[in-house]
C-alpha cells in the first residue's frame, strides 16, 4: 500500500470565528484501508470530516484524491469525486419511501427525461439485501426503527461505489446483529478497494475494524499508528491527554440501605399496551440497577412510562414511597423522579438557551414561593454554578451563550446538572454516554455513583454491556417489552446476560453461546 493514497490531506487548517478547530492536519488514507478516527467531543473530528465531505472549505491546506487536486465546493461535488459522507445525524425524509430517500437527488433516467423507477427499485432492493435489511424499498421511512433508519443512511452512502466512505458514529442506533452486518459489509467493500474513515467513540469497534488509527485532540492530529500498536488504554491516554485509570469509576457495591425507607422505585405489574408487559422491579435507595436489552426491547419505553410521559394501562408505580401511577410528569418530579432521556437535543435541552435556564427548568419551584412569585435568581445562579463546577463543565458563560455552543459531553453534563438540582430520589439515565467522549463519560458515571452513595436510586439503561458491568449493582434484562432476567453483581457474566437479551433461557446458555456466535458471524 505504498501506491498513490486514495485521499491525502496536506496542512488542513480551519477556524470558526477566529477559534481554530483544525490545525495543520496532514493525513493519508490508502486504497482499501479502514482508518479509525478517534478523539474527545470537540477535538475537531467532525469539522475535518465536513471539510473532506465538501460541507466546509478549509482556510488553509490542500487535498488530493488519487493524486489529483481536490477542492470540493459542495457535498454534491464531493460525491461526484467519490467521497460519501454518512453523517451521525440522520438526514432522511420521513414522509418519503426508502427508494425516494436513496435516489432523491439522482434518480436513474430513461431517455434522459423520465425517472426509471423500476431500476431504482431494483438497485435499492439489491442494496438492502446486501445488508440483509428486512424492509421493502417502498416502505415509508417514518415506519422504520431508528436502527433501520441508520442502516438506510449507510445504504445511501455505499450506493454508486464511492472510493472513500466516511462513517461518523454509524452504530449508535444499531443492534449488535446489525452492527455485525455492517462490519461484514465494510470488510467486503475494502476487499474491493474501497477506503473508509471510521469515526466513533466505541473504541472496541474502532480497534476491530481499523488498519490504522488517527487520534485527534484539541484541534490537532496527535498521532496515527497501526491498530496493533495502539492498545485501548494508550488510545484513551492519547485522546484525553492524561492517563485515565479506567473507563468506569470504582464501584465497590452498595451496602443494602436502610430497610425502613421506601425504595426509590417500585414497579408492580406495570403494563402499557404494545410497549411494556407486566414489569415488576424494585430499585433500592443507593442501588445502581442497569437495564440491558436489544434495540426495541422496551427499555426506553419502560423509562418513559415510569416518568409519566407515556401512560401505564395497569399496575402500580411508586417513586420514593409515593404512588405516582396517575400523576403528571411534574408531580412525579416533585415526588423525587429525574429522567435523563436518550434524546439530548430533542428532550433534554433547550438548545438556544444558556446553561442556567436549562439547568433550572425542573427545579424552578425550589427558587420561588409559587408560580407567580419572584424567582431568587442570584441563589439559583450560585447553585447552578456549584453543580456545574462539580461536574467539571467547560462553559465560559453560564447565563448568556446557548448550550448548542457546547460539545456533546458538556451538553450531557448540563442535562445531568439540571436533574441534580432537583435532588432526586430516583435518577433514570437512558443511554447517558451516547455520543459523549470518554472524559465526560467518566464524569457522568462518577457523578451518578456519588448520588447513589448519597442514597439516590439509579436506573441506567444502556446498550453497552461493558458499561453496565462496570457500574451496576444489579442488571435486569428486557426482551420484547418484558423483564426476562435479573443478575446481581456476583453473577455478572457477559455471555449469559447477552444470551438472555437474545432470548435464551439460562439452561440453554451453552446453546445460546453457539447461537450468539453464529449471529456475530453475520450468518
Amino acid at each position: 500500500m505504498t501506491s498513490t493514497p486514495r485521499l491525502e490531506l496536506r496542512g488542513i487548517s480551519h477556524a470558526f470565528f477566529g477559534m481554530p478547530v483544525n490545525c495543520d492536519i496532514s493525513l493519508r488514507v490508502e486504497p482499501g484501508e479502514v482508518l479509525g478516527l478517534v478523539g474527545e467531543n470537540g477535538a475537531g473530528k467532525s469539522t475535518l470530516m465536513n471539510i473532506v465531505g465538501g460541507v466546509l472549505t478549509p482556510d488553509e491546506g490542500r487535498m488530493l484524491i488519487d493524486g489529483d487536486p481536490y477542492a470540493p465546493k459542495s457535498t454534491g461535488e464531493a460525491r461526484a469525486r467519490g467521497i460519501a459522507h454518512v453523517h451521525q445525524e440522520l438526514n432522511l425524509f420521513s414522509q418519503l419511501s426508502v427508494i425516494d430517500n436513496v435516489f432523491l437527488t439522482a434518480y436513474p433516467r430513461r431517455w434522459g427525461v423520465f425517472t426509471d423507477r423500476r431500476k431504482a427499485r431494483r438497485d435499492t432492493a439489491d442494496a438492502l439485501a446486501q445488508l440483509e435489511l428486512p424492509f421493502s424499498p417502498s416502505t415509508i421511512v417514518e415506519q422504520l426503527s431508528p436502527g433501520h433508519r441508520q442502516m438506510l443512511e449507510i445504504v445511501k452512502g455505499t450506493l454508486g461505489s464511492p472510493g472513500l466512505i466516511i462513517l461518523d458514529e454509524p452504530t449508535t442506533s444499531l443492534t449488535s446483529r446489525e452492527t455485525h452486518l455492517l462490519f461484514a459489509l465494510i470488510e467486503r467493500l475494502t476487499a474491493q478497494g474501497t477506503s473508509f474513515i471510521y469515526v466513533s467513540h466505541i473504541l472496541d469497534d474502532v480497534k476491530k475494524l481499523s488498519d490504522r488509527i488517527a487520534v485527534m485532540r484539541d484541534s490537532a492530529l496527535i498521532d496515527v499508528r497501526a491498530e496493533a500498536d495502539l492498545p485501548v488504554r494508550e488510545l484513551i491516554t492519547l485522546m484525553v491527554g492524561r492517563p485515565l485509570d479506567s473507563l468506569y469509576p470504582d464501584r465497590a457495591g452498595h451496602t443494602p440501605a436502610d430497610v425502613q425507607a421506601a425504595p426509590a422505585l417500585r414497579l408492580d405489574d406495570v403494563s402499557a399496551t404494545g410497549l411494556v408487559h407486566r414489569a415488576t422491579l424494585t430499585v433500592d435507595r443507593g442501588e445502581v440497577v442497569g437495564i440491558f436489552g436489544l434495540m426495541g426491547a422496551g427499555r426506553t419505553e419502560l423509562a418513559r412510562v415510569i416518568a409519566g410521559l407515556d401512560a401505564a394501562d395497569s399496575g402500580r408505580i411508586e417513586v420514593a414511597g409515593t404512588d405516582v401511577t396517575r400523576l403528571s410528569p411534574r408531580a412525579r418530579i416533585a415526588a423525587g423522579l429525574a429522567f435523563v432521556t436518550e434524546d439530548r437535543r430533542g428532550e433534554g435541552l433547550l438548545m438556544e438557551f444558556p446553561v442556567v435556564a436549562n439547568a433550572a427548568l425542573p427545579s424552578l419551584a425550589r427558587w420561588s414561593g409559587g408560580v407567580l412569585a419572584p424567582l431568587r435568581r442570584r441563589s439559583l445562579r450560585a447553585r447552578v454554578q456549584a453543580v456545574t463546577e462539580a461536574l467539571r463543565l467547560k462553559a465560559t458563560d453560564l447565563t448568556r451563550s446557548p448550550v448548542q455552543a457546547l460539545s456533546g459531553g458538556n451538553q450531557q453534563k448540563v442535562v445531568l446538572a439540571k436533574w441534580l438540582l432537583t435532588e432526586p430520589e430516583l435518577l433514570i439515565l437512558d443511554e447517558p454516554t451516547r455520543g459523549v467522549d470518554v472524559g465526560a463519560q467518566y464524569e457522568v458515571y462518577r457523578t451518578a455513583l456519588e448520588r447513589a452513595d448519597a442514597g439516590t436510586g439509579i436506573l441506567v439503561i444502556s446498550s453497552e454491556l461493558p458499561e453496565l458491568l462496570g457500574i451496576a449493582d444489579r442488571i435486569v434484562v428486557m426482551r420484547l417489552g418484558r423483564i426476562v432476567a435479573e443478575y446481581p453483581r456476583a453473577q455478572f457474566d457477559a455471555r449469559i446476560i447477552l444470551g438472555a437479551a437474545f432470548g435464551e433461557r439460562p439452561d440453554e446458555v451453552a446453546a445460546g453461546e453457539a447461537a450468539s456466535i453464529q449471529i456475530q458471524g453475520g450468518v
Binding site: 470565528f17 411534574r330 419551584a365
Partner: protein, 367 residues
C-alpha cells in the same frame, strides 16, 4: 460532537466574534425597534403635516395604550409558539357586550329586535346603567370575563384537543365576529356613562391630557406582564414550552395549563384593550376589532416577538405597538388614499416577517 462546533463561537471568542455577537443582540433586541421608530419619525416628519405637534402626540398616545395592551396579550401566545387571530373578535364582542350593561338609553326602533332586549337592556338603559361607578367597574369586569371565556375556549381546543392554533383562532375569529354583530344587529351602543368615558378622556389640557387613565391601565399591565415573563417561574415555563415542547414536558412544565392560560391572558387583555378603545370612541362598537389583526401581529413581530416561539419581551411588544401607531398616524396625516395606507402596512408586515426570519438565523437559531 457533530454540528455543535460550527454553530457558535465557544469560550473566549476573539474580538471580531464578539462584535458580530453584539450586532446580533442589537438586531434581536429592543434597541433596534427604538432606532427604527426614531429614524422613521425623522424621515416622514417633513411630509406628514403636524406629526410632531402636541395635539398629535396626545392622539398617538391615546391610540398606543389600548394597542400596547392587546399586543402584550398576543405576546403570551406567540412566545408559547401559538398565534391568536381571534383577538379582533374578542375586541368586537367584549366592548359591545360591556357597553350594553351601562348604556343610559336604548332607542327601541334600533334595539327592540335584539336578543338582549327586555333582559339586559331596555328603553331605560342597560342593567347596570343606574349603578354609577360600581356599575361601570362591574361592566368592565364582565367585559374582561367575556374575553377570558373565549380565550378559555381557544386554549382548551389547542391544548386538550391538540388542534392547530391557526385554525382554532381563525374559526373563533369568524364565529365571535358574527356574534358581535348579532348582539346589537350591528348597531353601535352609545350614551355611555361619564365614569366610563373618563377612562380614555384627554380633556385635562397640558400635561394632564397625556396622563390619562388609559395610560395608567397600560403601564400597570405592562409592568405586571414584564414581571411575570422575566421574573417568575410562569415566565420561564412559557419560554421553555415555546422553545421545545418535549424538553419542557420532560422537565415538568405543565404544558396544558400553560397553553390554556396563555390564550386566556391573550383574550382577557384584548378585552381590556377594547374597553380603552370604546371609552375613547364613546360607544360600544360591534365592528371595533375588524381591521386590527394586522396591526396587532405586525406590532408584535416588529417588536421582536418571534412567530417561531420562545422569544420576545414586553418592552419589545410595547415599542412594536408604538411603531405601528406612529405608522398609521403618519400615513393618515399624509392624506394618503385608503388603499395606499393598506399597501404600506402590508409591506411593513412582510418586512417584519422577513426580519423575524433573519433574526432567528442570526442569533442562536442557526438551525
Amino acid at each position: 460532537m457533530s454540528t455543535t462546533q460550527k454553530t457558535a463561537p465557544p469560550a473566549a471568542a476573539p474580538e471580531s466574534a464578539r462584535r458580530v455577537d453584539g450586532l446580533h443582540r442589537f438586531l434581536a433586541g429592543e434597541g433596534f425597534v427604538l432606532a427604527l421608530i426614531v429614524v422613521y419619525v425623522l424621515a416622514v416628519s417633513p411630509f406628514a403635516n403636524g406629526l410632531l405637534t402636541e395635539r398629535n402626540a396626545v392622539n398617538v398616545l391615546s391610540n398606543l395604550w389600548p394597542l400596547a395592551i392587546i399586543v402584550i396579550g398576543q405576546s403570551f401566545v406567540l412566545i408559547l409558539g401559538g398565534i391568536d387571530l381571534s383577538q379582533t373578535a374578542v375586541i368586537s364582542v367584549a366592548n359591545t357586550f360591556g357597553a350594553l350593561f351601562i348604556a343610559q338609553t336604548f332607542a327601541p326602533a334600533l334595539f327592540s329586535d335584539t336578543v338582549f332586549w327586555g333582559s339586559v337592556i331596555g328603553e331605560e338603559g342597560g342593567a347596570l346603567s343606574d349603578a354609577g361607578l360600581g356599575g361601570t367597574v362591574l361592566a368592565i369586569v364582565l367585559t374582561v370575563a367575556a374575553g377570558c371565556l373565549i380565550g378559555l375556549l381557544n386554549g382548551c381546543a389547542v391544548a386538550v384537543l391538540r388542534m392547530p392554533p391557526f385554525m382554532v383562532t381563525l374559526g373563533t375569529m369568524l364565529l365571535f365576529g358574527a356574534v358581535a354583530i348579532w348582539m346589537t344587529r350591528s348597531e353601535n351602543v352609545t350614551s355611555l356613562p361619564p365614569e366610563y368615558l373618563a377612562i380614555g378622556s384627554t380633556q385635562g389640557g397640558g400635561v394632564a391630557s397625556f396622563l390619562t387613565l388609559s395610560m395608567g391601565v397600560a403601564v400597570v399591565v405592562a409592568i405586571g406582564a414584564h414581571y411575570v415573563l422575566s421574573r417568575t417561574t410562569y415566565g420561564a415555563w412559557l419560554y421553555a414550552a415555546g422553545t421545545n415542547r418535549r424538553t419542557a414536558v420532560v422537565s415538568g412544565v405543565p404544558h396544558t395549563r400553560m397553553v390554556i392560560s396563555a390564550y386566556v391572558i391573550s383574550a382577557g387583555l384584548a378585552a381590556l384593550g377594547s374597553v380603552l378603545y370604546s371609552s375613547r370612541l364613546g360607544a360600544g362598537r360591534p365592528t371595533l376589532g375588524d381591521d386590527m389583526l394586522l396591526d396587532v401581529i405586525g406590532a408584535a413581530i416588529i417588536g421582536g416577538i418571534s412567530l417561531f416561539g420562545g422569544k420576545g419581551s414586553v418592552l419589545g411588544a410595547f415599542l412594536g405597538a408604538l411603531f405601528f401607531v406612529i405608522l398609521s398616524n403618519s400615513l393618515n396625516l399624509m392624506n394618503l388614499p385608503f388603499h395606499v395606507v393598506w399597501v404600506v402596512k402590508g409591506l411593513v408586515i412582510v418586512a417584519a416577517a422577513l426580519l423575524d426570519v433573519g433574526r432567528n438565523r442570526l442569533i442562536g437559531g442557526r438551525r
